[in-house]
Symmetry: C3
Subunit: 416 residues, 3 copies
């Protein structure tokens, strides 16, 4: 079956993916709180997302659902009353999960709570303090250097209280109860590639798949990183084993090469399928072994679950300087890159959907192509190779799924 | 045991192999008909071949034994009555399996039935139409260009009628009922490398082996390509599993490098043995994986049989420009190449014949070579290495066949 | 646990290892006899070695314990009564295991019993005749060329009589009864690298390990080559299977690269461990597959035992011109090379000692590093990587030994 979009639709979809990123960009997200709720509500305009809430304090494996964090305003004023750091200008300025404070302190004391990137003096870093209560501000190094001695008014109007961890889930029922998982994280504030690109890709993927009749059921997760997947796995321990294949989407909007990080199994059907699609694409790509750093594939692949879930990104996390800084902005992601990433995800799903098991009903000697109209009228020269290949290709197997039956000569099965 | 010919005999045999090719060259063969019968009768002068006939219409797996084709004469005459294409000059001129015709037709209509090679203007292509009734002529591109407008008399005195498919079989009984299969195709008309070289090699191989006392039984098949092996397998379905190793011979007379195409199993004893012999030869060679294109190994290896049968050729089919053209003639095959191919086949058979299973009766610590006379009188320096190697080599295995026991350092076991 | 010596101690130990070699150098050793006893007694000053004696004639697998050989003096005098070959100058001059003789013979007859190296005219070769009774002398080629015609007095005051095969064994009890075997040969006379370097390394290894509290028990063997290991295995057939890992030490004092020859199993823990240590060293090295030539690993790995015993040398035996000649002398081995070899052995043992099996008690999702103090206070940037790696690294396995748990990205586990 054909899942891929046409080139024309793909260009259009790339622009729409970018528009969604632009809309979500200003929101201050974290692993909990109203920023996540607001984000998910915007996504509900595209897909029928269920928004789920899990209460603070609930144990989830080795972890506990944290307190909910919300922030209304935050700034630092100098002695003249000028805002020298202003959360309203960029939500990255506030250390994520900062506790409330309203005090006047001297510069030296303030500096213990400031984070900059000395080697990128115009960029604001992104920092968090989820599991250790603290407060702080992130700013450009030039801002830091411009701060004069004197007293500063520090104001953070935030709350860190019992509440909920919020996540989105969309289950698209297919012919069978076997599931394909597509997951992204939704916990980063104004960061485009690391967060919003994945959200946008999964949203448009879900939107497109919901228009098709599919063999697999699809489960789309929009969850805070780490704690979100741990929470979901804890709540769905019994059913997680319905997941036959999965991909974690993140960093799919930059202009770098596509990079696939294998599942912990390393030879799962998803691993072979992605490798195949990348190999037969016309662009450079990279394939990496599983490792315990990365996104939520770490949880899905933990040995107690060991699900066949890989991660398909463009430039891997932490391998581009803009990663976790204000430079991961709306200029850093491109509609064409988003569209190409989406197209690759669709190509992968098309293989998985098509990859049924066929049984050779004629295993003794080859089939006669002539009487099936698959052979050129005149022998002795090369004949209709593509169709012959399909027929011959399968004829050398007793049973075969398409992805498995890639022949020794490693031709691209896609032309079958 | 020693199977290989001496260098002297090999030169002589190369010349005899070439002479047999020269004798068979003029005959118009096809997948059925008197050309095959005539060919097999000539081979009977060398080996006691059984000639078998299978009637038209007999179902053989997915196929049916075709009608028998015979041709007495064929030509095209121009308006002046000159023969511009003459089957008697080269049987390649006639589209193989052409139906009878005697008509006068204009050039334009004639051209629909003509085949040439525009990029090789002096060569006649070889074309067939076995399974779609038609008529036609093959000619050089220069001949085609010289044809003037006007009417042409087309004459094909052929018959396509119920009859027989004819093939040759020679069974050479050995000590055991385990069989080695050696097969070639006999369906091509005046083509030397693709057809006659294989026929000649299998004939002289059989002739030489018949003079020896052998462990294996040998089955030599001279069959029309594809339909012949399908027919043989259909008639011998029960007994095919006696075949423990097999080789399909074709294209063994050109001056290209030896090329082995593995069985579908890929790791059968025949695959390892041929790889070993080629590796320890002094000449370049190639080894290819199984694929569903090629010669009759396609049928022997079809998944319902999956016999351990590979194919040893020189330049692979379709990889030399002369393939399936009039340039695959008596100049294209060389006695020395034929002899070298034969020698390689013999070397392979020598390994298979010798490759018995040995059990190490002394598995704890190494055997004392001294008391067996296998150690040099004086220690401290290299001693009789060849014999020691044999003894040591085996001593590190509990059980071993020779071909399996090739040691990690991959020495050539032939010196054992 | 830490086993390795400090750099300072290592330099000192290198010098002591060299001193021991110097002390043992003059002794005339063979596979039996007083030279072996004297050698072992010197070693007893360093480690509490048990000296064991096995009587001549005892059957040991395919072999028999040979007669004991001792030599007091040997020379060849020319017609003028000058000693032209003198055992007292170098014990290599005497063919090892020479039977007694006292005769006057002409030069031509003498020459049948002389061994030289024509391509190394200043070196004395080392030759033996253990299992074929004979007598002979080894000399430099220049000595041979200087011999004038005439009668020569040949005198060998040796005895070859029923006696004992002598070997040394030191068993160091650890926490468990699982054993690590460390073995060297002690049968060569004045040869430094091939014999004395291994003896010295195993002695100092044992000396150092005896000061530590260890998980494994250690068995140190000082045995004549081939017949010694065969004898030991024959006497200890039942208990040999306590050996969980082993190394045969030889040729560890030259300045060549470290070379590991794998056990016959090829993938034993010792094989993986040595490969790992060599890979993460800063020096070039080589790893070779098992083969039936070499030192006593041949017997330990024979298929009836198949123990996980490899051999770690520097330049492999027979791969340096000085091998088995008088040039393998005190100049050929270096204290720094000895120390580096010892250090590598210790590094290997440190891994084996540490390589316990751990069970992941938290297999579902990753452990929370924060509450264990293993995560940096501020997220969003790289945190304490070494400790995190340890924790994450293990978290992706259900059970793991350290050497097995080397992660796909193949980081050096040593920093754990």
């Amino acid at each position: 079956m054909k899942i891929n979009l046409t080139a024309c639709d793909l260009n259009q979809t790339g622009l729409e993916m970018y528009d969604l990123i632009s809309e979500l960009y200003p929101i201050c997200r974290s692993i909990t709180g109203n920023g996540v709720r607001e984000t998910l509500k915007i996504l509900q305009r595209h897909i029928p997302l269920d928004i789920r809430e899990v209460p603070t304090g609930m144990p989830v494996f080795d972890w506990t659902v944290p307190k909910e964090w919300n922030v209304r305003d935050a700034y630092v004023k100098n002695a003249k009353g000028e805002k020298v750091i202003d959360f309203k200008k960029s939500n990255l300025h506030l250390l994520n999960y900062s506790t409330p404070i309203h005090e006047k302190i001297p510069l030296a004391q303030l500096k213990e709570h400031l984070f900059t990137l000395s080697d990128r003096p115009d960029w604001i870093p992104y920092r968090t303090s989820y599991y250790s209560e603290n407060w702080g501000f992130c700013l450009t190094h030039r801002q830091l250097e411009a701060l004069e001695d004197g007293e500063y008014e520090v104001y953070i109007d935030s709350s860190l209280e019992d509440g909920y961890l919020t996540y989105g889930e969309y289950f698209l029922k297919g012919e069978t109860s076997d599931e394909i998982l597509l997951s992204c994280h939704i916990c980063h504030p104004s960061l485009c590639n690391d967060n919003l690109s994945g959200i946008s890709l999964i949203t448009f993927l879900a939107k497109h798949l919901s228009t098709l009749s599919l063999r697999y059921s699809y489960r789309f997760l929009f969850i805070p990183g780490t704690i979100g997947s741990i929470t979901w796995l804890s709540l769905n321990e019994e059913n997680a084993f319905q997941i036959k294949h999965g991909l974690v989407a993140a960093g799919v909007g930059d202009s770098g090469n596509l990079t696939y990080k294998k599942s912990r199994r390393g030879d799962a059907e998803i691993d072979r399928t992605v490798a195949h699609i990348l190999k037969h694409s016309t662009r450079p790509y990279a394939i990496a072994e599983f490792s315990p750093y990365g996104y939520d594939e770490r949880q899905f692949c933990s040995p107690g679950f060991n699900l066949p879930v890989g991660s398909l990104t463009r430039t891997p996390f932490n391998c581009y300087p803009e990663y976790h800084t204000s430079a991961d902005n709306l200029d850093f992601v491109r509609p064409t890159a988003l569209a190409e990433s989406l197209d690759t995800y669709l190509a992968i799903l098309e293989v998985l959907e098509s990859n049924k098991k066929y049984v050779n009903t004629n295993p003794k000697c080859e089939p006669q192509l002539g009487k099936r109209g698959l052979y050129g009228a005149f022998g002795g020269k090369k004949a209709r190779k593509r169709k012959r290949w399909r027929c011959y290709g399968f004829s050398i197997y007793r049973t075969a799924t398409i992805a498995y039956s890639i022949l020794p000569s490693d031709r691209n099965w896609n032309f079958l």
